[in-house]
């Protein structure tokens, strides 16, 4: 083990941390300062590392002329629905894999995991005709279903692992108390699994929120467009590259996920099952 009390070791440790931190946060910093620079400063040949003159013009454009609010609203609806549907499906599937023994359990689980080896983009080729034949192209429900296709297997596996650790005795105690299987799941297992459910919800939400390829391919109407394709098509298209507007809109678009993490992060840490057994 590295002894962090030694000044030299501590210095090296902090230096490494700083390099990693710089690597991670510099793009975000650049995003923020670019959004706050006026066009004159933004397009200078020698870049400035902080805005010499603060300018809100790009935000004004994004909220005014652009359709940022509409796109955000669409994304919120699609990603919220996708995250909810993904969590709901994954929790029942994960619980059945974790606590019930039935024929075909192992093969089905293997298939779930093997779905992950297919490239994300490749799946779209088969997804597109399916959506088309179901009449779900260019609809929000279609995009919701498409965006959980990839998140669901992983989410199911995450919840399977978590539910496997819920003590059997807890479930048996409820059974002996007279609860049916669904009631046990809803009133005993789910309340002690909130951290895992929050994690899976956020995973599904982020997957959908950050998706560009599926959203761009499956949605063509401007009024249903989500924030990813919206940003790209509004600011960086064939005729126009408005970097300042793109930066300002991106900054606004990334806020919901950051806020969601900030609010929900305490659930990641909290061990709700403490005191259940032993």
């Amino acid at each position: 083990m590295l002894d962090l009390s030694a000044p030299l070791a501590r210095g090296i440790f902090l230096l490494v941390l700083a390099v990693i931190g710089l690597f991670l946060f510099f793009p975000i910093y650049w995003l923020a300062i670019s959004a706050l620079k006026g066009n004159a400063e933004l397009y200078r040949i020698d870049p400035t590392f902080y805005p010499h003159a603060l300018s809100w013009e790009h935000f004004a454009t994004a909220f005014g002329r652009g359709k940022l609010l509409l796109h955000l609203q669409n994304s919120l609806v699609v990603s919220g629905s996708a995250a909810a549907l993904n969590t709901a499906l994954a929790m029942y599937a994960g619980y059945s894999f974790a606590k019930f023994r039935f024929a075909g359990r192992r093969p089905v689980m293997l298939m779930l995991l093997s779905a992950q080896v297919f490239p994300f983009g490749l799946l779209l080729i088969s997804l597109y005709p399916i959506m088309s034949s179901l009449g779900l192209l260019d609809t929000r429900p279609g995009l919701v279903i498409a965006s959980i296709v990839f998140a669901l297997p992983v989410s199911t596996y995450m919840l399977y692992s978590y539910f496997s650790q819920v003590p059997d005795e807890l479930i048996e105690a409820a059974r002996a108390d007279g609860a049916g299987e669904l009631r046990i799941f809803h009133t005993i297992v789910l309340p002690v699994s909130i951290p895992a459910l929050v994690t899976v919800f956020l995973y599904g939400f982020m997957w959908s929120w950050n998706d560009l390829l599926y959203a761009m391919t499956l949605i063509v109407s401007e009024d249903k467009r989500t924030v990813g394709p919206g940003l790209l098509l509004s600011y960086l298209n064939e005729t126009n590259a408005d970097w300042g507007g793109a930066m300002a809109a991106s900054l606004v678009a990334s806020l919901p996920v950051v806020v969601a993490f900030a609010i929900l992060q305490r659930w990641f840490i909290q061990g709700v099952t403490a005191g259940a057994v032993k």
């Binding site: 002996a176 108390d177 007279g178 709700v272 403490a274 005191g275 032993k278």
Partner: protein, 363 residues
């Protein structure tokens, strides 16, 4: 209050036979303890009685009514789990009232019954706490309280004290004994701790390898173990086993060619084992006609001293209980004697083979 009857109860997991046909009659109001080593099937049997697992063959009846296909909650039983299995997101009061709420009991009655049970178990001040805010002993009491509230016909306890430290275990043992006296309900209790079994039980069921070895009162088992297994399992320290050869007139020849008038029902020349408890051995000087050996270890327990004696021809050291003031040192050559009437003779199959059994098998 209820009787419990088991007839030919078998349990098989895949191809593994865990229980090989258990027959048992538990009278109304009895405190029965299933005791045996790990893997003997005692917990499995309790789970079958509770209804958490299905029997593979045989019948389980409560008050004469077959309950094989009755779900746990409708058998009129309550189980206290080894790990307590409290619902972590519910308060103590909610934990205790959960079964009643599921059964549709009016809120007022739930409160009354929870309060009454809390009073019995001194949990009044803790009703609004969550399980994680409780100590191990308090959690155990909540688990028992959850069972009491249901007013079951039979209580089932699955090693309820095994997670507690030694001092707390003795306290809780007393608590359970008082509870039993107060409620008078039939109780079935599983443990691997023979001290718990001896102190709590009206009736002990000694199990081994999925079979019942012997059923009886604690003192019955202690004084007349039916076989070598029960003899070794009940009592601490373990019963000493001396290899012997059957001689004429029901006497035996012990290690060192010592003859003893232990009555044994076996043919002369057969091998046998003579069991003798530590407190029935007398330590004396080595002389002709007594078992001789040397002290190898001395353990002072305050009230008692246990001396281990190495005897030629006996594999395990022979343990002798002495008065707490005795002065014995390792290396001392000693002689061992005992009253033949206190000895337990076992035949080659490990079954008890004294006069009384001989009469029965002859009849």
């Amino acid at each position: 209050m209820a009787t419990l009857t088991l007839r030919g109860v078998k349990k098989t997991f895949d191809k593994t036979h865990v229980l090989h046909g258990i027959d048992l009659d538990v009278p109304d109001g009895a405190f029965v303890v299933f005791v045996g080593p790990s893997g003997c099937g005692k917990s499995t049997l309790l789970r079958l009685i509770c209804g958490l697992d299905e029997v593979s063959a045989g019948t389980i009846a409560i008050d004469g009514e077959k309950v094989n296909d009755v779900p746990p909650a409708r058998r009129g039983i309550a189980m206290v789990f080894q790990s307590y299995a409290l619902y972590p997101h519910m308060t103590v009061a909610q934990n205790m009232g959960y079964a009643l709420r599921l059964a549709g009991t009016p809120a007022g009655e739930i409160e009354t019954r929870v309060k009454a049970a809390a009073g019995v178990l001194r949990l009044d001040a803790l009703l609004q706490r969550k399980p994680r805010q409780l100590s191990g002993g308090q959690r155990q009491r909540v688990a028992i309280g959850r069972a009491i509230v249901r007013e079951p016909r039979i209580f089932l306890f699955d090693e309820p004290l095994s997670n507690l430290d030694a001092a707390l275990r003795v306290d809780m043992r007393g608590e359970i004994a008082r509870l039993k006296a107060r409620l008078g309900t039939t109780m079935v209790y599983v443990t691997h701790d023979q001290t718990e079994a001896m102190t709590l039980a009206d009736m002990i069921v000694v199990m081994n390898g999925g079979r019942v070895e012997q059923v009886g009162s604690p003192l019955d088992l202690y004084r007349r173990p039916a076989n070598r297994f029960v003899a070794g399992f009940i009592g601490s320290p373990r019963m000493n086993m001396l290899p012997a050869t059957v001689a004429e007139n029901g006497t035996v020849v012990l290690p060192g060619s010592v003859r003893s008038a232990v009555g044994i029902a076996a043919r002369p020349g057969e091998r046998a084992e003579i069991g003798i408890r530590a407190e029935h051995l007398v330590l004396g000087d080595p002389s002709a006609g007594v078992i001789t050996g040397a002290v190898t270890m001395v353990e002072h327990l305050g009230a008692d001293v246990f001396a281990s004696v190495a005897v030629e021809g006996v594999d395990a050291p022979v343990i002798v209980r002495l008065d707490g003031d005795s002065v014995v040192r390792p290396g001392l050559p000693v002689g061992l004697t005992f009253d033949p009437a206190r000895a337990h003779p076992f035949d080659t199959q490990g079954l008890r083979a004294d006069g009384a059994d001989a009469v029965r098998s002859a009849a």
